[in-house]
């Protein structure tokens, strides 16, 4: 009987050691390329099964006016540091044009006023950040299907790429003047799409501080990496996929993506590209950015963001 506690102590000690070894082992395993590919099959299965379950026009849930969040948490870039964008914003986007090109028969160049004259859709939907939080907002904009029909897709068209105004990285110079702590701890490849860590009112200040620093760096060279995203034609022609110019009944604020942001409901927040400048229809996105189909995808996030 007295043997027992010793044996237990031994077992406990051994399992603690085993746990520590296992943790290190899992991290090593998680960094191995073959294992990463294996894990990604889970995400491929998500896309495959969800596309089976969802009809082409199955709508994301829509909400009532009363459900609209009092504060729609701005995310990622909240004030693009780019000089060209700042100039447009200063002129209230009167000189803004959306360019539609790539694999289309009739390329388009539309001002905000022209976009507003196209058929519009208004929807109250829930925005789900990949981090886990949600907010509900009311969006009004032109259906992407409307624009693609006007521009007439060529037969090879497979994906619609949204090129945005906001610079995310300054090429070689990394995280120059950031001192808010978060960026320092997190390796660039592991940052979260929202670059915010906690709820509260003070974070917009922090973020714009970081972006101000990015603007200063822009002068020092390096090719700026701007935000971009891509969706396939299933999502592009979905009735709720719109380029919104209004949020909660007013002109879209800069912090939420003025003058035009993508709403591709049934997808997580990082797909909802802000500051959209140009739409490019392509057969493959392998030659854009680092070839994964979007800024966050290039950092390792799944291209399919339905879950």
């Amino acid at each position: 009987m007295s043997r027992l506690p010793n044996r237990r102590a031994l077992l406990l000690g051994a399992s603690a050691n085993a746990a520590a070894a296992m943790l290190g082992g899992c991290d090593r395993l998680g960094n191995a390329e073959w294992f990463q590919r294996t894990l990604k099959t889970g995400e491929d299965a998500n896309l495959f099964v969800q596309r089976l379950l969802l009809g082409k026009a199955t709508l994301a849930p829509e909400y009532a006016e009363a459900d609209i969040s009092p504060w729609f948490k701005p995310n990622g870039t909240e004030d693009p540091p780019d000089k060209a964008y700042k100039a447009l914003a200063k002129g209230k986007f009167a000189k803004y044009h959306l360019v539609v090109g790539g694999l289309v028969e009739a390329p388009l160049k539309l001002s905000l006023a022209e976009l507003r004259q196209l058929p519009a859709r208004t929807q109250i939907t829930r925005h789900d950040c990949v981090e886990g939080w949600s907010a509900i907002g009311k969006w009004t904009g032109v259906p992407v299907a409307e624009l693609l029909d006007l521009a007439k897709l060529k037969p090879q068209a497979r994906y619609v790429v949204f090129h945005c105004a906001d610079t995310m990285d300054q090429g070689s110079s990394l995280e120059g003047g950031e001192d808010d702590g978060e960026a320092d701890e997190v390796p660039a490849g592991n940052a979260n799409p929202s670059m915010t860590k906690q709820s509260g009112g003070d974070e917009s200040k922090k973020d714009s501080g970081g972006q101000q620093a990015a603007d200063d760096d822009a002068a020092s060279g390096g090719t700026p990496v701007r935000f971009y995203e891509s969706i396939d034609l299933v999502d592009a022609f979905h009735p709720q996929t719109i380029l919104a110019y209004e949020m909660n009944g007013e002109a879209l604020p800069v912090s939420n993506g003025a003058p035009l942001r993508l709403r591709v409901e049934r997808n997580l927040g990082y797909k909802q590209a802000k500051y959209v400048m140009r739409i490019e229809v392509v057969e493959s996105f392998a030659n854009i950015g680092e070839g994964k189909g979007g800024y966050w995808e290039d950092q390792g996030y799944a291209w399919y963001a339905g879950i």
Binding site: L4, P61, W133, A302
Partner: protein, 273 residues
């Protein structure tokens, strides 16, 4: 006595690995926004639970639950990582997978093992139904229900069954497995699915079921905690009731049944195997 058929043993261990990976990668995902809410959206000013760090220098990790704040420095809110530096994070590096802050890595692990968990669970259920094992294992027999009170007393005093009684699960074991198998695990899967915007489009009843996406996230967290409790009690009971015999049972299928001895003699004694 031969107790655990091959399919049960394999699915048991696959399940054990899945639950551990799902827990740790789940904590990694939680760390990306370490706060919980109730309802459709996040009420950022009034979370049910939030882990954060204070403005002090150096910052202190604190956890707020239903408006009350607790000092959880070193474990929740702020803790030391592998590099020895204190960092703002919900759960500590040793509890998450990957150990560093890595939301997308956590998501990859979580989804792959979620699929493995669901397929493994379906294989277990299918086999259990067809072979009759499930009924034998988890449905209490009439005499067990009649002696419910006595069984609870035996359980609380840690008197483990011997003889014929050890050949089947007792009524508390059966009810626990019933709740885990048919309540906790299905709720956990459904709450996980309710967090997917695409699943909410395909099956809006998921949102009705959980009263919104943020509640589903909270339920997912609470059920994970209940599953951890179940596993802890399960492992402690295995250790107390004869670790080697139980382990042999779940590895080889063979299990030693003690001869029944008088209760007065057996009280507190170690089962000899």
């Amino acid at each position: 006595m031969f107790r655990h058929p091959l399919v049960i043993r394999v699915t048991h261990w696959v399940n054990a690995v899945c639950l551990l990976v799902l827990l740790m990668s789940g904590l990694q995902i939680f760390n990306a926004h370490p706060a919980l809410y109730w309802g459709k959206v996040s009420t950022f000013d009034a979370p049910l639970l939030a882990m954060s760090s204070t403005e002090d220098d150096p910052p202190k990790g604190v956890t707020t639950v239903l408006g009350r704040t607790f000092d959880t420095n070193g474990v929740l809110g702020s803790s030391t990582g592998a590099d020895g530096e204190a960092a703002d994070r919900g759960f500590p590096a040793w509890a998450t997978l990957p150990s560093d802050q890595d939301l997308t890595g956590g998501r990859s692990w979580h989804f792959f093992f979620a699929w493995t968990f669901v397929l493994n669970g379906l294989a277990y259920l299918l086999y259990g139904l067809v072979s009759g094992q499930l009924r034998f294992r988890v449905i209490p027999s009439r005499d067990q229900i009649r002696h419910f009170g006595a069984s609870i007393w035996k359980h609380l005093t840690l008197r483990f069954p011997q003889g014929d009684e050890a050949k089947r699960y007792n009524v508390i074991q059966k009810l626990t497995y019933l709740v885990v198998l048919f309540v906790l695990l299905p709720v956990q899967v459904l709450a996980g699915l309710a967090m997917s915007p695409a699943m909410d489009a395909a099956f809006p009843f998921l949102l009705t079921l959980f009263d919104g996406r943020q509640s589903a996230r909270t339920v997912h967290f609470v059920v994970a905690a209940l599953l951890v409790l179940f596993v802890v009690v399960h492992v402690v009971l295995i250790l107390l009731s004869g670790f080697r015999n139980k382990m042999r049972g779940m590895l080889t299928g063979w299990f030693v049944i003690e001869r029944k001895v008088e209760p007065a003699v057996s009280a507190g004694g170690e089962p000899r195997s």
